[in-house]
Amino acid sequence: MPPPGADPPAIRVDRAPRGIPDEADPVRLPGDEATPAVAAHPLDPRRVGRIAAALRDAADRGLRGRPVAGIAAVLDRVSRRWLDLAEPARRATVADVAARLGWSEASVGWSLDREMETSLGADLLGALDEDLSPAAALDGWVEAGDRRRRALGPGLVAGVCSGNVPGLPHLTVMRSLLVKAPVLVKVSRDEPVMLGRYVDTLREEDPELADCVAVQAWRGGDREVEGALLEEADFLVAYGGREALEDLARRTPPRVRALWHGHRAGACLVAREAVGDPGLALALAEDACAHEQEACLCPAWVFVEGGGADVSRLAEGVDAALAEIGRERPPPRRSTSDVAARRAFLDRLLVEEIAGSEAILGTRAGPGLSHLVVARRGLPAPPAAPRGRVVDLHAVPRLEEAVAWLGRRPSELQGVALAAGPGGSPALAEALARAGVTRICPPGRMGVPDMRWRHDGRPCLGDMVRWCEEVR
């Protein structure tokens, strides 16, 4: 027990394969002032090299010879344990992540549940089957007419996580292990806690597999550490904003193949026929609350085909739905600065109204500006709405206009929720696909893709492997 008044010990977030000695005491990451405090062993190029060598050895010993189904079975058990509300690792993680991010525990738990319930064995094997044809080539040579084929994962995967969607970093670990590659993952500064504990559970289930995973923390952009890592790695999975990814890309040797997961935006589209759907308001509110609207799949705008009256009516329903969700999953604790930004946004709308703009149809806010609903006329124009339980409704005469607007930045589009009424709208779906959208789903399900979704439009598992064929 620490003495009264003393700071609680920092949570250690890094994990290394067995046999890697702790060469120094864990230290706090520079610039990180969130609580509870976290610490990690300092990393230098030499230690990166030692960890990489240990990961490769562990993969040779206990990963490359395993059937994929066996790996998926272990990952399935880990996911099921993390779905168990009584699991100590989950409980501690929910509490710590909630404290660090300011989210409610209910909201962190919701995100973890959604990530883990789509990380079960059937999802993993299904994703392999969809991304790799045939997936059995990961286990051995597969006959294909006059030839046979083999699929091989990278020698070592480097993962760089950013952002703070709880439960996202384990995706890189699962994908790497499924293609039988060891992986070293850098956790994000905002949410560095979950992945280490996930690896602890993996170790309890299967120590040999856990030895193929290293979790490390360093300041993003560290030339020495990242240089050493990129020397060792054969494949890079990087999440981050445009500047961070461009910086990393400049330093990544051409021989290292990569998946770049940049920041993206989503939208909801509501066709005229669906505006009156009874569940629509709740579904739109759910999408604005999923992962506290911080995931690339979450909607930044809701386009409603119709007039101002339709949108104003919908805004009322969404406001009530957001309040209802807030009772089950309380909104994040917002800093004075965040609330001030929301006030500044509302004030800009108010000024527009006073200036005689006809674009502003109305605003609604939850207590403490915890949620906002904005009804506007026309395509998005400044001021841009903040994120986090914010539903920014735009009445447009035709949804095709919204699709064309979204299509101006195709590489930054991700998910679209499409409410098209009975029978759907194949033409709109086709237009969205052409515009750059990578996932179309009904409203209410934007934040819950499964493993079979082609993340950023890529068959990620397929991208990670190299094929060899032998022609006879």
Binding site: G163, Q293, E294, C296, A340, A341, R342, I354, L369, A385
Partner: protein, 376 residues
């Protein structure tokens, strides 16, 4: 150019404000109310947008019984609306705030009486906080002249300081290639040699650039003549390194051999006519210890508001800063800023700014997206 002066009810209110500032400002809240409330009512007659905003906030102007009931207008309104009382006379100068990618600059419209009031407020504030020990020999400004950058109110104010407190001897150190540090340092050396006390004035970030330049190119130290002082304004705004106040003073002390109390920070806003100073120099002159924070001149008030409810928060609690400035008597004189700060007794501190709609997690910031899409 002959310009028409204020007419009607507003003319009398402007004169009362002028008289009050000239005599040291309203002595207490009752005197402040006696100026602020009639001025508010007179301006609402002429600037209906202000009244609409007050009603939208649930602050009906007819119910205002104290300066605290005057509805502060968001600074954004200056970007979107022409906020000026027509009966004050024609607009002769327009000062602009810095714009952002998503919005045009704000515009503060000045008629002749407004310019005169601003000069009066600048003189009165500077006399207390910047020149308590009397005038200096020259003002050196790290920036272009008001002729070269007519939209920048800060430069206008610095020229006024030179006119009122340095016998008109004011030099703006910008050449065709930007800030002319060698010319500035050369001029300072001459003044030091001749024992001329100077005011060195400019944006906070520019001073850091100058200090870094001196560190790299030399001279790394240039002692100023005794009684010299430094005025920095505007924070860093992405120019150069960000320094704490203590670091800034230590750096300037090292470069110019200035005691810390002779580095005075100023907070000014284009939308207002008055400025808020640190009281370090005034306190030193009075033989007392200065304290951190900005002091309100008697004709101004600053409130700290809860960003959710816009209710005033207690001392020490952070919130949005709202300033009232009677010297801004021909425009909305109560302004809600996006600055965060705290009130501490007779002064306030600025602690940050409202965060924008930037990216979080792996979602792209809607602002970046909307702006970029709009530009295509």
């Amino acid at each position: 150019m002959v310009t028409r002066g204020p007419t009607g009810a507003l003319a009398g209110q402007i004169q009362r404000v002028r008289d009050a500032i000239a005599s040291g400002g309203p002595a207490d809240d009752a005197a402040f109310d006696a100026l602020a409330l009639p001025l508010y009512r007179a301006l609402l007659e002429e600037i209906p947008a202000w009244g609409r905003l007050a009603r939208a906030r649930g602050l009906p102007p007819e119910a205002a019984s104290s300066w605290r009931d005057v509805a502060p207008i968001p600074t954004d309104a200056f970007r979107r609306l022409d906020l000026h009382a027509p009966s004050a006379g024609e607009v002769v100068r327009t000062f602009e705030t810095s714009g952002t990618t998503s919005s045009q600059p704000g515009r503060a419209l000045f008629d002749a009486s407004a310019l005169a009031l601003m000069d009066l407020a600048i003189d009165a504030g500077a006399r207390i906080h910047l020149f308590p020990d009397g005038p200096v020999g020259r003002v050196h400004v790290l920036g272009p002249s008001p002729q070269a950058a007519p939209g920048k109110v800060m430069l206008q104010g610095m020229r006024r300081l030179g006119e009122s407190f340095a016998g008109g001897r004011v030099v703006f150190h910008v050449g065709p290639g930007g800030l002319d540090f060698p010319a500035l340092l050369g001029a300072l050396e001459v003044d030091t040699r001749e024992g001329v006390p100077v005011l060195l004035a400019g944006a906070s970030g520019t001073f850091v650039q100058l200090a870094d330049w001196m560190g790299a190119q030399g001279p790394s130290r240039l002692p100023l003549a005794p009684r010299s002082r430094l005025l920095d304004a505007g924070g860093h705004k992405g120019q150069g390194r960000e320094l704490s106040r203590a670091e800034f003073r230590a750096l300037m002390g090292e470069r110019f051999q200035l005691p810390p109390q002779r580095c005075v920070n100023l907070l000014g806003m284009t939308e207002l006519s008055s400025q808020f100073y640190e009281d370090s120099l005034a306190a030193a002159h009075a033989g007392v210890q200065g304290r951190e924070g900005f002091v309100n001149p008697p004709w101004t008030r600053t409130r700290v508001l809860d960003p959710d409810t816009l209710a005033e928060v207690p001392d020490g609690v952070p919130g949005l800063l709202a300033h009232l400035d009677l010297a801004s008597a021909t425009r909305p004189f109560a302004v809600l800023t996006t600055d965060l700060g705290v009130r501490e007794g007779d002064r306030f501190r600025v602690t940050g700014r409202a965060r924008g709609a930037e990216a979080r997690g792996c979602s792209i910031g809607a602002e970046a997206w909307t702006d970029a899409a709009a530009r295509r």
